[in-house]
């Protein structure tokens, strides 16, 4: 992707008291691109996003939006859906959408038109006068999503946009995010649903304990850093399995054993090096998924080879 850079984050750092929450976070989001920021709970994703949004102020580094530096970023060009989100309960959908559009300096008439179009698109047609407290959680999330894009933002930041959504709503959101990106919106999203990230994102930036562990386009990460894994079904003693060469890590559950291997492994050659006596009822060898990379990082079982910069 070689589009125009919309958001540039450079060496961002933030501490609370003596604890470093994020350090040396650097990435860019381009026009029409969907960029994922990933990491386990407490990794520093929301802190990174809050620093970008100017809700928090970074101790180190800088955030540049288009040509605007931190402190002078025009907030009305950015859409934001925070992780901790809600809406005023005792007001109508249309009133709240108009309020958010007004806060973003977006023309009311245009906002009204867009709001009605999106409500219809998200299955909330005719509910514009309905009070927020009468909506289900999923419906409320749709309204929050509309609120974040009502003003046609150039950059859209979505913190866990799929959390709490049913599969149908997830699909609706996914399609909308794709459409927004196709129309030129730069999108930065954080999510725990790796399958959705794999489907949606052009690039990803994974952080753990406040620092980057892996970044790059999805294909680069998958090609370069998704290791091989070999799954064996059979009764095998751990001592015997440990004799298999070039194994980074072994996981054994009953009869199933997973051997984690490096990414550059010559598989046919490796199989020939197995010690005698290994019992194989079933055997499969494939690459680890993004989900597994994420789990490895979150649980601290990731290997150096598995989580490098692409």
């Amino acid at each position: 992707m070689s589009g125009e850079i919309v958001l540039s984050v450079s060496q961002l750092g933030k501490s609370f008291k003596d604890k470093k929450i994020i350090s040396d976070i650097s990435f860019e989001v381009k026009k029409g691109e969907i960029m994922a920021i990933l990491g386990p709970n407490g990794a520093g994703k929301s802190t990174t996003i809050r620093n970008i949004m100017g809700i928090m102020y970074p101790d180190e580094g800088s955030v540049t939006f288009a040509h605007y530096k931190s402190g002078s970023i025009p907030r009305h060009k950015i859409g934001y859906l925070p992780e901790e989100r809600g809406l005023y309960k005792n007001v109508s959908i249309m009133d709240i959408l108009m309020y958010f559009a007004e806060l973003k300096d977006y023309p009311v008439a245009k906002a009204k038109k867009r709001a009605l179009a999106y409500l219809s698109k998200f299955g909330l047609e005719g509910k514009e006068k309905t009070s927020i407290e009468e909506l289900s959680k999923g419906m409320g999330q749709k309204v929050q999503f509309i609120a974040s894009i009502i003003h046609e933002p150039e950059l859209l930041i979505l913190d866990e946009p799929f959390s709490g959504l049913d599969p149908v709503s997830q699909e609706v959101f996914k399609q909308e995010i794709k459409e927004l990106a196709n129309n030129g919106t730069a999108i930065l999203l954080s999510s725990h649903q790796m399958n959705l990230v794999e489907e949606l994102c052009d690039r990803l930036y994974m952080i753990h304990q406040g620092s980057k562990v892996v970044s790059g386009t999805l294909s680069e990460v998958k090609k370069e850093y998704a290791n091989f894994k070999c799954t064996i079904h059979g009764d095998n003693e751990p001592a015997l399995l440990e004799k298999i060469p070039n194994v980074l890590r072994i996981e054994q559950k009953g009869k199933q054993t997973i051997l984690y291997l490096s990414a550059e492994m010559d598989i046919p050659k490796w199989v020939k090096q197995w010690p005698e006596g290994i019992q194989v009822e079933e055997l499969s060898i494939d690459r680890t998924t993004l989900h597994e990379i994420f789990i490895q990082i979150a649980t601290g079982t990731g290997t150096k080879e598995g989580v490098q910069d692409a």
Binding site: R85, L87, N90, D95
Partner: protein, 415 residues
């Protein structure tokens, strides 16, 4: 500032559409009117029910025509009959009647200075008080009998009274036609009416200001703060709330005035506007607005530390009591509006607005030095409280899930 006005507009619109606000907006003055008028109406109804008193008068003194003139100004409900019947017969008739009285105005009684009044059953207790107005004309008759001249009688009936007079106004008032008491009352009303109006404004805006506490807390509870803060700064959000609830308070005052002004002006025939629109009103309103800003800063700051109102600790709940702090001082200030307690109350920022308004309403001479010192302290306190509220609000509004502890608040202030 533009963003603050957007927030202010939103807060006003949101509350004006809220049924409970609308109900309280109109219900409060209606309740005031009901409580103010119902007792009077009931009393009137009660009086209407009561028949007029049949008063039999034996007028040996031929003085009733004079006395009737005095009674006319009192609007007493007497059915007077001048009688020449025998006293014994009349008293016998009286025993069979209800709500009747017999007054023998005889030469002997006048000489003795004691007039017996015979009452039948069911005569109201107030009747005997109403009779006291006849004492003046009867005393004049006594003096006439003694052969005193008209001038002597006038001097004696006028009596001697003590009357308060201001030293500085003595010269000014010397050449005026009005009686001293009348001018004093007018001057007093020119203080009391604007003072009371400013007091109502302060009360109204502080009461709606309390809603800021709820609004800030609700913003946290409903987790909407972060979405809003993606469009503006915490300071803009805080200022917007303060402006919005000020506007709401003023709307409330306006509606109350719509009810109050016609009643006061036309029903009570009181020239409200001539007493209200005096230059002093500007200073009194300034004190009210300053009082609002002070309490609004406290409410918005502390409100941002509370997520669950039901679990609010004593510390946060006590904040709501602060505007009522002047009530403690009202007794001593009332008895001596220029005393030490009144002065301390004027200097202490939390009591200053209400105490100042009260003092300036009752004091004939305004203590300008004290007013200036109080206002300087008040304005500096507002600046300080706004600064502190800004620091607390900035962090507190984004802290979800629990109420902040005093230690945490102290930490945010020191940041």
């Amino acid at each position: 500032m533009r963003n603050s006005f957007k927030v202010a507009k939103w807060e006003m619109k949101r509350n004006m559409k809220n049924k409970s606000f609308i109900i309280s907006l109109f219900l409060t003055p209606i309740l005031f009117i009901v409580f103010a008028t119902i007792p009077t109406l009931l009393e009137k109804f009660n009086n209407d029910e009561q028949d007029s008193v049949n008063v039999y008068i034996k007028d040996e003194l031929n003085s009733w025509t004079e006395m009737e003139k005095v009674l006319a100004s009192l609007e007493v409900d007497w059915n007077v009959q001048i009688t020449t019947e025998q006293e014994a017969k009349l008293l016998e008739e009286l025993t069979e009647q209800e709500n009747a009285a017999y007054i023998p105005l005889t030469e002997a009684a006048l000489e003795e200075g004691r007039i017996q009044v015979y009452l039948s059953e069911d005569v109201d207790d107030t009747f005997i008080y109403q009779l006291s107005v006849l004492e003046g004309p009867l005393r004049q008759l006594q003096f006439q009998k003694l052969g005193l001249s008209a001038e002597e009688i006038e001097v004696l009936t006028k009596g001697v009274v003590f009357e308060e007079a201001s030293v500085s106004e003595e010269t000014d008032e010397a050449g005026m036609d009005h009686p001293v008491g009348e001018v004093g009352m007018e001057n007093q009303l020119e203080r009391i009416v604007p003072g009371a109006t400013a007091g109502i404004v302060l009360f109204s805006i502080v009461i709606t200001g309390m809603m800021i506490f709820q609004s800030a807390s609700q913003e946290k509870k409903e987790k909407v703060a972060e979405i809003v803060l993606s469009s503006l700064t915490p300071e803009e959000l805080m200022n917007g709330k303060i402006i919005g609830y000020f506007g709401l308070g003023m709307v409330q005052v306006f509606v109350w005035m719509l009810f109050a002004i016609p009643i006061i002006t036309w029903f009570f025939e009181f020239p409200l506007f001539s007493y209200l629109f005096v230059p002093e009103l500007l200073l009194l309103l300034f004190i009210s607005f300053a009082g609002y800003l002070l309490f609004a800063a406290i409410f918005v700051g502390v409100g941002a530390t509370v997520e669950d109102m039901t679990a609010t600790s004593n510390f946060q709940g006590m904040v709501m009591m602060l505007p009522f702090l002047p009530a403690i001082l009202i007794g001593p200030v009332l008895s001596n509006p220029s005393g030490l307690i009144a002065q301390i109350g004027s200097y202490f920022p939390l009591t200053s607005p209400a105490i100042l308004l009260f003092r300036l309403s009752v004091l004939e001479e305004w203590p300008w030095l004290e007013i200036i010192i109080s206002l300087v302290i008040l304005v500096l306190s507002i600046w300080l409280f706004m600064k502190l509220a800004g620091k607390i609000f900035k962090t507190g509004i984004l802290m979800y899930g629990k109420n902040a502890t005093p230690q945490e608040i102290w930490k945010w202030i020191r940041q």
